[in-house]
């Protein structure tokens, strides 16, 4: 399957993208894109209706790549419709955020590997009890019937309940997805009234989280739920809720439709 891009150096489309871009070894637009897009689309096809979430993500990426490619082929497309260009930038930022996340975990994986290597050097003692204490160890089969054993097996084969909540505050930031943030903003913005991007992201330290907020706003903008105004480049961005006050339309549904239609346009 063309989808399985795999060499000793990189694996999978994201890695390919990362590799190509960060090394600047290859002209992204001329060499790899069509293969990647084809692979994505083929993969989405094989997935069928298995997982809409994943399919949506892939479609968004594919659409972005096709847009990028077509804009490369038609250098002045930027002079065209402003909405289209905005949409292009939005998808581009989404792709950027995904690449950043992917790279973050690649580096984290390398750190975990180093930890495992270090831990491997030191082996635990598992010798256990000396014989003289063995008689004290409660007999695991005392009073146990074959039926108890069967019950124990079924218990062992049943997924365990969630572990006690661990403190993962240092990773929570990345946890927030664009969709979660969309929902969050959709419920808070109608109440807070007009605000600014700076105010919305005040107190957020992680860059990815700020990007997620930005993408969430673009998502809401696309759905016509907020107005965004920016007087000058790098100026304050004003955010005004213009949607209905109440439950917002499902942006996820619209995103799918938008991604599919732009993918078809790109192919045509």
């Amino acid at each position: 399957m063309p989808y399985e891009v795999s060499t000793p150096v990189f694996e999978g489309p994201f890695d390919l993208l990362l590799h190509l871009i960060t090394r600047q070894q290859v002209d992204l637009y001329e060499v790899s894109l069509s293969a990647i897009v084809d692979a994505y689309l083929a993969h989405v096809e094989t997935m069928g209706d298995l997982d809409l979430d994943v399919a949506t993500e892939f479609l968004l990426i594919a659409a972005t790549l096709i847009e990028l490619k077509s804009s490369r082929l038609l250098p002045n497309v930027g002079d065209g419709d402003l909405d289209e260009e905005l949409a292009l930038w939005e998808e581009r930022d989404l792709l950027l955020a995904r690449l950043l996340e992917c790279k973050t975990f690649k580096d984290a994986a390398r750190a975990l590997d180093r930890l495992a290597d270090a831990a491997e050097l030191s082996r635990p003692r598992v010798a256990g009890m000396e014989e003289r204490f063995l008689s004290l160890v409660p007999d695991v089969l005392a009073g146990v019937t074959p039926e108890h054993l069967r019950t124990a097996l079924l218990r062992a084969l049943t997924p365990k309940p969630p572990p006690p909540r661990v403190d993962v505050s240092h990773v929570n930031l990345v946890k927030a997805s664009v969709r979660d943030t969309v929902d969050e903003l959709a419920s808070s913005l109608p109440v807070t009234g007009p605000t600014t991007f700076r105010r919305l992201t005040a107190g957020i330290e992680e860059r990815i989280q700020v990007i997620v907020h930005f993408l969430a706003l673009l998502e809401l903008y696309k759905d016509g739920l907020v107005e965004l105004e920016q007087a000058a480049a790098f100026g304050e961005m004003r955010v005004t809720w213009v949607g209905p006050v109440g439950a917002p339309a499902s942006s996820a549904t619209r995103a799918v439709v938008a991604a599919i239609s732009s993918a078809e346009e790109g192919e045509g």
Binding site: D53, L68, P159, K160
Partner: protein
């Protein structure tokens, strides 16, 4: 560090230092027969003392082994204390333990494991979305190796299986708890990388 190792004369002297209290000796004895890390709370119960004192005793013991350059160390792993061989003697242990090294994880498995570790509980769909590839095979491998397990079901309509890391994972990495993972923030690409990526994606140039 305790004073005792620095002045060896004290060992056979009149009053053994605090670390030679019966409590410290009991900790050593129990850890010697334990087959998995022993929680401080359990040691405290056995010794009829407080977990905080157990932590002090263990710290004192660990420091004394280190100061004496013993061939073993006392470490805190997966929520408890246990004896381990000293890392610098790994070559001897490898020769001694048949088929010592556990098989290495592939890059794909490691990356998936990293995402599970930092984002748990997490579904396969979320993993696939981040990695950009199907992760079913990799998740199965991680489950088989015992590093990842089903920890919950998504309460949402799909009831997706959610995965988390196991105590085997903590032991594999020599960590006391998930909180001891290196902060993910440290791996977020710096401005230079972001700029490069951004440039790579710029449509018209």
């Amino acid at each position: 560090m305790d004073g005792w190792t620095e002045s060896p004369g004290a060992i056979d002297g009149d009053e053994p230092v605090a670390a030679r209290s019966e409590d410290a000796r009991a900790v050593e004895a129990v850890l010697m027969v334990a087959v998995e890390p022993v929680e401080p709370a359990l040691l405290a119960e056995l010794l009829e003392t407080t977990p905080a004192r157990v932590e002090d005793l263990c710290a004192g013991l660990a420091a004394s082994y280190e100061a004496e350059e013993r061939g073993f160390v006392l470490v805190r792993v997966a929520g408890g204390y246990r004896f381990q061989s000293a890392p610098d003697l790994a070559a001897y242990i490898e020769r001694f333990v048949l088929g010592g090294q556990s098989a290495r994880l592939s890059a794909a498995a490691l990356e998936t494991l990293a995402i599970v570790a930092y984002k748990q509980p997490v579904s396969r769909a979320q993993l696939a979305a981040i990695r950009g590839v199907n992760v079913d095979g990799v998740v199965r491998t991680l489950q088989q190796r015992g590093y990842v397990a089903e920890v919950a079901r998504d309460p949402g309509p799909g009831q997706a299986v959610l995965y988390g890391t196991t105590t085997s994972f903590l032991e594999k990495l020599g960590l006391d708890s998930v909180d001891d993972l290196p902060p993910l923030g440290g791996f977020v690409p710096d401005a230079g990388v972001v700029a490069t990526l951004e440039q790579g994606l710029r449509p018209n140039e």
